[in-house]
Symmetry: C2
Amino acid sequence: MAKEFTINDIAREACVSKATVSRVLNNSASVKPETKLRVQQIMEQRRFTPSATARSLSRQSSNSIGVLVPEIDNPFFGEMFQGIMEIADKKNLVVMYFNSDDSADKDRRALLSLKEHRICGLLYTPAMDYTTKSQQKEIDKLLTDLDAPIVLMDRQPDSLSTYDCVSFDDETGIYEAAKALIGAGHRKVAILNATLDRVLARTRYRGYERALEEEGIPLEKRYVFEGDYRMHTAYQLARELLSMEDRPTAVITCNNSTSLGFLKALYERGERLSEDIACIGLDRIEALDIIKCKFNYIERDAKQMGRRALGLLSERIQKPDGVIKQIILTPSLRIYEL
Amino acid sequence: MAKEFTINDIAREACVSKATVSRVLNNSASVKPETKLRVQQIMEQRRFTPSATARSLSRQSSNSIGVLVPEIDNPFFGEMFQGIMEIADKKNLVVMYFNSDDSADKDRRALLSLKEHRICGLLYTPAMDYTTKSQQKEIDKLLTDLDAPIVLMDRQPDSLSTYDCVSFDDETGIYEAAKALIGAGHRKVAILNATLDRVLARTRYRGYERALEEEGIPLEKRYVFEGDYRMHTAYQLARELLSMEDRPTAVITCNNSTSLGFLKALYERGERLSEDIACIGLDRIEALDIIKCKFNYIERDAKQMGRRALGLLSERIQKPDGVIKQIILTPSLRIYEL
DNA sequence: AAGCAAGATGAAACCGGTTACAAAAGAGCA
DNA sequence: TGCTCTTTTGTAACCGGTTTCATCTTGCTT
């Protein structure tokens, strides 16, 4: 087994104290160039690698950040993660990855684990909104206990309004989508959304509502479908939707999986996207774009969001105090045909 | 700021030594139930969380594993990662995630960083094959220096034959795909592959070769396309392929991105999958399945691979010695129409 | 009541770095 | 040569846990 060398071994061999070796390591202060070279050579020879663990302990700070997101299988978060990794790599940060699977309990456990590991910052998309007093109290404790800067991504529940956040202007995104549909002549526009107990769903709903109102189209409750953002649920709702007697001629689907759920139901009926049933989804679905399926969507640059989030986090790590920043990115509409 | 409590604070408050607190923490050996309770209560009150860093240092072992993969944006690795996370979560392992972007240099840097962090195990898909002597020597040093068990995923270059590995029987996958195409009457079967300097590409090529041979179809070099596994490259090759005068009637695409590249070229020409031009891809493309695009593919359960890999790694961490295990998973063919 | 083993606890060293402070070695100058 | 003032280096404490070994209580046995 390759014996692990420590700073002591190097010191002994170079006939200096460990303090000096440490100085060389941090190429700090005044070390005689001659000494420095000698020490470096020995480190090289022995393939010495300093222990990040020991360093973190003594410095009382680490170079690891945590990433905690709710849906590992959603391409949106996948891309976001890519953006994060891109920057992390540049800044030499190590990323500890956790997944909450939309469960408050896993969220909690992940936060505890992250606390144990004394991360220097967290990128966080909360699993839920934490609306009740007791939930708020608990999440608040967990987050402050972390004792590290936190940047929220994608969603900012009211209970977490004191943190930095990078998100998209979904309200406008959906608003414009609805306007576009109506502009194309659709009067019966449905929305496939999650239940309104989530900020995310509420925001999106507001865009929809506002567009209808502005266009003087009465909001029909039966065209508002609320489930969650998972494919299977959306699929079920879409089946209902598609078999209504007075069925909508257009649908807005509020995330990737929802879009797929809708499409699944549609194609299973032997139908396809057409003027009879138009759709605008939230987020691109690459494969559909490629085969020119003419699936319309509201594009959000998730990678960019990841980059910006980590950028913000670094700033915050540099100077922990300072005004809270909320970056809101603008989505853009990609329409093929309505 | 929430003051951070240490084991010392707890010890003082409970009027015991830190050794005792440590014992309670590890709920080890003999601590008088009474004492134990008292200490636990104080830990509870103070919301004390032991430092994983300190623990790792003193125990000389951590509970973090490293995951190093080459293509973060390939859904195959995305799913694999899901499988890994699923098990990591169960085993209470923390995952440090690195991405090599198919670059040997990033691979190297990631391995160094992982060494610094004294991970207790690594799940690794090498960025390249490391075929030259000097490359082999370097990667070998890096990996042994890690001084932690390693399980390879997806590919096992010859230079790394002494490690555990979980992979798919791609040869058989491609072989069966080719057989199926030929069985359906196709005589001009092309393959869209990467250059044969990679094991992965060689293995896949072998399957193709073997099927043709078995069916007595002479292998035509002009139907063998070699690039890399990125979409853009495949797209370029596919354009060539599709505009050949004596063009193939069937294509095998050797990974996700290759399939998309091919489809892009195809649809850009205004064509679609048909008996004139059939295709079998490696790996499912979810969206296409959903809209019943009849895209045929060789299915590989990447999630399962992730699970198995981490399973193997845990075993190896338990007992570092013991025979090398190579798990080979079987892909299965999904054919809609040829 | 003495003897002894088992049970509970504490003292101190250790893990591998960092860093404040002190000390030694040179350099410059009168 | 002796006296500062820098540079360069070393000593030792510290970070927050774990663990070995010794010590101190117990209760049990006879």
